[in-house]
């Protein structure tokens, strides 16, 4: 069987929400470049804040390094290489996380990949997210600009789920978040708008539910959205804190479009015949990896990184939205209520024993079933172990369960320098052939 032809061809259409999403992202980054004229404080980091907090402090604009670096390495091969060289020339190791090396290198070169200078940060707000690079990047950023820094420690534990322990650690986080608000008030000299924050928090929750509804549709065959496109959307309203009202409207639009596509069997990939799950973000300089897989009729329908966005497992193994997901947050009235509600996910994460690698693997197995995946591709990121600390264990577990799994090595957000695209495509060929699949020929 040297040649395979598609047995079935689904109808496919371009995404209608695509341009609107691009526009929102553009507006967000424009705010960064015009910050000086608009007297806006640019905050480096802020990954744990949620977009609600930005509305409470409209004079601040939060820029998270990850999506910025992802765009940077996707836009150019040479610029991230220069950034990395600048960063390493300061004595930092080649094994630094690619996001951080690209972001901090761009800062050290004082050049933005969009042209012009790298916009000065006024405040640094970091959370460690259990990743060694995140906390260290805040130190570098605040020292480089000589700016105030706020640091958040997201403590967790392995072992038996223990609500009492989880509670104590969450209370610590609540206190830190409340302190952050006061810190921002002091650093900017502006008062935090509690009412706007609470309202925006609720809006954020509604947006989260919309996002979950979109993820829910990916369980459909054919998948109405592939993860490559999903990556461009899912940070909106999260790590990319685009205008909250517009973001909610966008997600409504995406949700409606995906539901319509699912009902009408409009596929992301016309030749879908193999569904796979991805691990962490792919090498941003090689997103054509997804397009390459499409040549086999393979579509990525789920990623660890995006999770299931608040969906709950059902007795039949599928994932659906919990009952009344939005109403749960309607009684929130104060700043503290909102902060606590924001951290409820973290509490559930710990209380459910999910920091344990076995918890992670079991969850992955459930997702594979729910999203009807045929195989799993787990990247091993060469730079930074925060994104790979559980990947080998997950691989072992998949193998035990007889699920086809492929590991491949990459520096996901670094420069293309260390990446051998042909070798990777060869590996994908081998993996797909092991699944009995060949490239489709019309």
């Amino acid at each position: 069987m040297l040649i395979q032809r598609p047995e079935k061809r689904w109808e496919t259409r371009p995404l209608e929400c695509w341009n609107k999403a691009k526009e929102l992202r553009k507006q967000f980054y424009q705010k960064e470049s015009t910050a000086k004229e608009t007297n806006t404080f640019i905050i480096g980091g802020g990954d744990s804040l949620g977009m609600g907090m930005m509305v409470g402090m409209p004079v601040c604009h939060f820029i998270h390094p990850n999506p910025l670096a992802a765009e940077m390495v996707n836009a150019s091969d040479s610029f991230p290489r220069e950034c990395r060289a600048a960063f390493e020339a300061k004595g930092y190791g080649h094994d630094w996380c690619g996001y951080m090396a690209s972001y901090l290198g761009s800062m050290m070169l004082n050049r933005s990949f969009r042209g012009g200078e790298f916009p000065r940060r006024d405040i640094s707000v970091t959370g460690n997210d259990l990743c060694n690079f995140f906390f260290k990047h805040g130190q570098l950023e605040s020292e480089y600009w000589d700016i105030p820094m706020h640091h958040e420690d997201s403590m967790t534990y392995y072992g038996e789920p223990d609500p009492e322990r989880a509670n104590a650690l969450v209370e610590c986080l609540v206190a830190q978040n409340l302190d952050l608000i006061e810190f921002l008030e002091k650093a900017t000299g502006k008062k935090f708008d509690d009412e706007a924050y609470v309202e925006s928090f609720k809006r954020g929750r509604r947006t989260g539910v919309l996002r979950a509804e979109v993820i829910e549709t990916l369980q459909n065959i054919p998948a109405p959205l592939d993860e490559k496109s999903g990556y461009s959307l899912f940070t909106l309203g999260g790590l990319v804190g685009s205008d909250p009202e517009q973001t909610e409207k966008l997600w409504e639009m995406i949700r409606d479009e995906m539901r319509w596509r699912a009902e009408n069997q409009i596929a992301a990939v016309a030749t879908e015949r193999y569904r796979f799950k991805d691990g962490f973000p792919p090498p941003w300089y090689c997103l054509n990896y997804y397009r390459y897989m499409e040549e086999y009729g393979a579509v990525c329908v789920s990623v660890n990184y995006g999770g299931t966005g608040g969906l709950e497992e059902q007795p039949d193994g599928s994932y659906k939205l919990p009952k009344n997901p939005v109403e749960r947050f309607e009684n929130i009235k104060t700043r503290e209520d909102a902060v606590r509600a924001q951290l409820s996910g973290w509490r559930n994460f710990m209380a459910g024993g999910l920091p344990n690698p076995e918890g992670n693997s079991e969850r992955l197995l459930k997702w594979i079933k729910a999203f009807k995946c045929d195989g799993v591709i787990l990247q091993l990121q060469r730079n930074g172990i925060g994104c790979v600390d559980k990947e080998r264990e997950e691989t072992i577990r998949m193998v035990e369960e007889g699920i086809p799994v492929m590991n491949w090595e990459t520096s996901h957000a670094g420069s293309r320098t260390d990446f051998d695209e042909n070798r990777m495509f060869d590996q994908l060929d081998t993996f797909m052939e092991s699944q009995g699949l060949r490239k489709l020929v019309d």
Partner: protein
């Protein structure tokens, strides 16, 4: 001095014999942020899980190649059965590498009991202190359940006293190293501190007292050569090997700031009514390692203070490949050392210690300082 060296020649013998003799439980720990006093007060023996290079690569199945050699070496020790005498394992949140080793150990190496302490990373954060205090309560409860023994205030007081004595004695040894032409070598001091992590402190204290009395009678050496400081990643047995190598080439390691060296014993528990808070505070106040220095660069200040205090001429930054936190701290530490005209050598390696290569690098470094 030979007794400490002998203990390290077979680092598992003591714990195995202790177990046989007392019938007690042995708790292995991966990171020195584990409050050993609590384990000791519960009647168990805390033993540091020491790393040896994973020459056969048996850890690669579980830990990707970008995990540091130390974490892979620790896991390899578990996988090859070297630590099969451990009844329990414990870890305190530190770097991702060691947390990975702990995670895989939990899953693949049989053990009776396990405990993970959520050690904060930002030790300038007052709320985290409260959270850590609650973690101590959780650990105490867990240990009581595991050992079937109530941890009384008396037991805690005794444990604190034993551990504080050990720390004070080690400080005395390190004080001797501050002098010109110190009586004790870096290798000897390192063997003392490393051996203290694998045996009952009460017994080790007796050995230390005896050694200190003998050291005070020892003649000063004529010329100990260049005075060096060692920083960076823990390499356990490798650190001892490296120290001996350096000291054979016309230099003395007069001070270190390693997690298995001075950082392990530097500060005491300051007794207070709430024993658990006193213990919490001790671990909170330890000199910062690279992982726990997230905000104000206290580590840089600490290192420079020590270098001045011990009249250090050069610093060897002994760092593993993929030791993220230590790599991240390197540039600011180099900068601070340069400002004080203290020489610096970046000794990055993969944990296997190729002696010929290391020898020529260190020799050159020592020559540069001499000139």
């Amino acid at each position: 001095m030979e007794r400490f060296q002998k203990l390290l020649e077979d680092p598992h013998k003591y714990a195995k014999e202790w177990k046989e003799k007392t019938g007690g439980k042995v708790m292995g720990y991966f990171c020195p942020y584990i409050p050993e006093e609590l384990v000791y007060a519960a009647g168990a023996l805390p033993v540091r899980v020491l790393s040896e290079p994973d020459a056969d690569g048996i850890s690669y199945r579980y830990l990707y190649a970008t995990f540091c050699p130390k974490s892979r070496g620790v896991l390899a020790q578990g996988l090859n059965g070297t630590y099969s005498y451990l009844d329990g394992i414990s870890h305190a949140q530190c770097c991702e590498g060691m947390s990975g080793a702990y995670s895989s150990w939990r899953l693949h190496i049989p053990h009776e009991h396990e405990w993970f302490v959520s050690m904060p990373s930002d030790l300038d954060n007052p709320w985290a202190l409260t959270a850590l205090r609650s973690e101590m309560s959780a650990l105490k409860k867990d240990l009581e359940k595991w050992t079937g023994k109530t941890i009384t205030e008396e037991a805690l007081d005794h444990a604190i006293e034993v551990y504080n004595t050990s720390r004070s004695l080690m400080r005395q040894v390190y004080e001797l190293r501050r002098a010109a032409n110190p009586k004790v070598t870096g290798a000897e001091a390192f063997e003392m501190v490393l051996s203290s992590q694998i045996m009952d402190k009460e017994e080790h204290n007796k050995l230390l007292k005896d050694a200190i009395s003998k050291l005070s009678g020892r003649e000063k050496r004529d010329d100990n050569g260049v005075r060096l400081m060692m920083l960076g990643s823990d390499c356990d047995f490798g650190d001892a090997t490296l120290t001996r190598l350096i000291e054979s080439m016309g230099a003395t390691i007069v001070i270190d700031r390693l997690c298995n060296g001075s950082n392990y014993f530097w500060n005491n528990v300051i007794p207070q009514e709430d024993r658990l808070l006193a213990i919490t505070q001790r671990y909170w106040d330890k000199p910062r390692c690279a992982v726990k220095d997230e905000t104000f660069r206290r580590r840089v200040v600490d290192v420079i203070g020590l270098a001045i205090d011990y009249n250090v001429q050069g610093v060897i930054y002994n760092v593993h490949r993929f030791c993220t936190p230590n790599h991240a701290d390197r540039p600011p530490i180099i900068e601070a050392l340069k400002k004080r005209f203290i020489h610096f050598h970046d000794l990055e390696h993969d944990g296997t210690f190729p002696m010929g290569d290391l020898q020529s690098r260190i020799e050159t470094f020592i020559d540069v300082i001499r000139k």
